[in-house]
Amino acid sequence: MLGGYTFTDLGSIFVMQGFAGLILFSVFVLMALGLAIIFGQMGVINMAHGEFMILGAYVTYLTSTFFQAHLPGLFSIYFFVAIVLAFIASGIMGLIVEYVLIRHLYNRPLDTLLATWGLSLILQQAYRTIFGAREVGVELPQWMLGSWHATESIEIPINGMIIMALTILITIGVGFLMYKSRWGKNVRAVVQNRAIAGAVGIDTEKVDRYTFGIGCGIAGIAGAAFTMIGSTGPTSGQLYIVNAFLIVVFGGAQSLLGTIASAFTISQTQSTLEFFLSGSMAAVITLLAVVGLLMLRPQGLFTLKVRR
């Protein structure tokens, strides 16, 4: 009966796959948050977003090797240092890219797409040259390994819980930044009408630059989290960029809440189905469901209702 599983087994499978889905969800949310800020708020389609994430992953890798070689005593806390460094590295690179490239293309979405795609190729090759084509993995400190036995048949990995906690923290931070801070107000004003935002006294160029930088920095944090669940290679970012875009579009481009809800739906569907079907079938079914829903609701899950 039930393909050889008992009900208790099935229950445990759902809980553990559900939790695996939550970890995937966390990485997706981190990635999609950065993208939602950049795409949803600025309208820039950043094809290099995956590479900004991988930069964060490489920074985490470098930090871990540095701590292993020079500060073995502090190795257990290297991950938290790595998160900060990953944010800074990806953020600074974002600022530079915005200044050199993106700001000249704000009214040309298709050109942005091409330019950032080119940038992603350049970055991939740069990673290949610097770090080698082989994938690298980080070593986790002892206390992050292992898992927590909730019941006899349910095990929940500790690093997964750390990623989730990190995601919750970052999400709250971004929410606060966008909806409570002065900076967030300026960003939303610039998004709605760049020219008028300037005419009421907002330095739109500065807002654009820092928005892009922060979006990229969050991608860097996603990269740091990513090292815990997969190994880092020059093209690893490519695997996640499509899903991240899917999440942002599905959730409704300008709504952070929508982004989170859609990341949850997509990652849970994917990971629960993956256990019973092959990975690619799971992806096909998820995609079909998303396409179907987007046909019914092209504006995405969450939208604001206002008179225009």
């Binding site: 002065r182 107000k185 300026n186 939303r188 004003a189 709605q192 009408n193 020219a195 008028i196 935002a197 300037g198 005419a199 009421v200 006294g201 907002i202 330095d203 739109t204 300008q254 604001l304 206002v306 008179r307 225009r308």
Partner: protein, 233 residues
């Protein structure tokens, strides 16, 4: 004039190759309200946009108080004391009323500014948590003015503020604008098509035609009939 708050000297503005303003001169004194009248396509909105920096100028200078704003970006002009209420209001529709006002405030945002604004526009205080897009046209216009005032300007530019607004609200707006001028010592440049509104608030009426000021009247003897001849098509 030594007490001029806004001085425009020989301003040329063009869209690509087609020049719309051909050497416009204008001086707005402290505490003065000027109404700029003219038919459609004569350059009213162009002048407004050039003043706030949404359109580049080819030649000429613009000064606020003693600050040359000709080469400044929009946000720097706002910091220099110009505020702009665009045609069609252009409030941020998905943001709340209060957030809309706060976008106009300079870095050192003082709550006293908000209090002052809500005193001028009590309806905005009632609506302060509503999204701007859900307000009526008249309320949106008040919000657009409030947002401009939040930067504590010296010169207020209003581009056709009466467009699409019901007459009772227009009369109220005229009262409010005069009150702002009296209380805050503002200079106001307003472009208008509605003659009665212009006559009601303006100290001086200028008529713009083909990018030049062709007629000017001031003081008590403003002759409405004469101006309306310029406006008839």
């Amino acid at each position: 004039m030594s007490n001029a708050m806004l001085t425009i000297d020989d301003l040329h503005v063009a869209y690509g190759k087609s020049e719309v303003l051909h050497g416009l001169n204008l001086s707005l004194a402290k505490n003065e309200i000027i109404a700029l009248m003219g038919r459609n396509g004569m350059g009213k909105t162009t002048l407004m946009k050039a003043l706030i920096g949404l359109l580049p100028s080819l030649r000429g200078t613009m000064k606020v108080d003693d600050l040359d704003i000709t080469k400044l970006k929009s946000y720097q002009r706002v910091a220099g004391g110009v505020a702009y209420v665009p045609q069609g209001r252009m409030i941020f529709s998905s943001m709340t009323v209060e957030e809309n006002i706060e976008t106009g405030m300079a870095k050192s945002s003082k709550s006293s500014i908000l209090t002052g604004i809500y005193e001028l526009f009590p309806v905005l205080l009632e609506m302060r948590k509503r999204r701007g897009g859900n307000l009526s046209g008249g309320q949106q216009q008040q919000l657009a003015i409030a947002r401009a005032l939040a930067s504590e300007p010296k010169v207020l530019l209003l581009d056709e503020p009466t467009e699409g607004i019901q007459p009772s609200i227009i009369r109220e707006m005229a009262r409010t604008l005069k009150r702002i001028r009296d209380e805050r010592g503002l200079s106001i440049l307003v472009s208008e098509q509605v003659l009665s509104f212009a006559l009601d608030i303006a100290d001086r009426v200028l008529v713009i035609e083909n990018g030049e000021i062709v007629h000017e009247e001031s003081g008590a003897e403003i002759d409405g009939a004469k101006i309306s001849r310029f406006l008839s098509v």
